[in-house]
Symmetry: C2
Amino acid sequence: MRTDPWTWTGPPETRFENPWLRVETRRGLSPGGIEASYGIVRFRRHAVGVLPIHADGPVTMVGQWRVPLEAWSREIPEGGIEADEDPLAGALRELAEETGLVAGQVRPILNLHLSNSVTDERASVYVAWALTEGAAAPDHTEVLEVERVPFVSLLDDVAAGRITDAITVAAVLRVHHMAITGALPEALARAMMSPPPGAPVP
Amino acid sequence: MRTDPWTWTGPPETRFENPWLRVETRRGLSPGGIEASYGIVRFRRHAVGVLPIHADGPVTMVGQWRVPLEAWSREIPEGGIEADEDPLAGALRELAEETGLVAGQVRPILNLHLSNSVTDERASVYVAWALTEGAAAPDHTEVLEVERVPFVSLLDDVAAGRITDAITVAAVLRVHHMAITGALPEALARAMMSPPPGAPVP
């Protein structure tokens, strides 16, 4: 059955809202006939992320404090865009604001639903290369730590659970898949997959 | 600065709650000194997922209607566990309930924060093999469509944006990375990466 198996018995009711979220509940009967109130967190903004690869192989990453986790998180440049903004344009704007980088080449790599049991949050994720440097202009509500990290170190960090942001984890793994399947320029893929400077020679 | 850059001026206040969520707001000064109310969606449950690989290569997937998206979604077996339940035990329980599969071998593969700008939701993700079949016992609130899918078809679906659930996308890509880096048993990796039955021979 690929249609909604719930029988809704009431309209959606807004229970909380702010500039980022709207929480609504709706009464209905579950597929098993149990009466329940389904709570949904609707996101006003659409998440975007872009993994920027430098010609010699490293990736520019952004570290920031994530208030809900009460923890520092290392991530690809990410942001939220308004519902009527083009996701690609928004991703490139976030890249430039957070890192100063301007992308000569960009490709869509992932469409994600981040937490689909309770939220409708979507993410559009890109890979970018042929980068040039401009001036960063971070949002006044953010404190960012920008770093260049060898791609293979990012892969290790993802595999070891040291990088946990879902958009970043999926993007790093997808770009790895692209690099080894010929979906990126060959010289770029070779530079990305080379060992970081100072790594022991096997 | 790897500590909280906000200056909180009030205590967290609960604005909405149900058995799955608690929404709280807290007043504070952002790093730029702007007064704001930060809304956080706290999840009572911890997400778990497990990618089960059969000895001959395919993966058991679960399709279900996701109410917040108003759409059908194809995913690895997933669920939510209570905060005090062991994530591995919870993942294996969800696997058995949704698919009837019992895993002889299981490994942790990913720790994810799914939507860290606004929520504290975490996911623990596993890969399982050496599977045996028992009887499924799905939750009465779920209508599930269980299917076995060639692993390389899943990779294609992820790359093409036909599979969008973030846990599933990250798990498929991580298991691909494991298969080609010798982190899975060799015969299993070879079976997973072989073309699906009926695929054109290059």
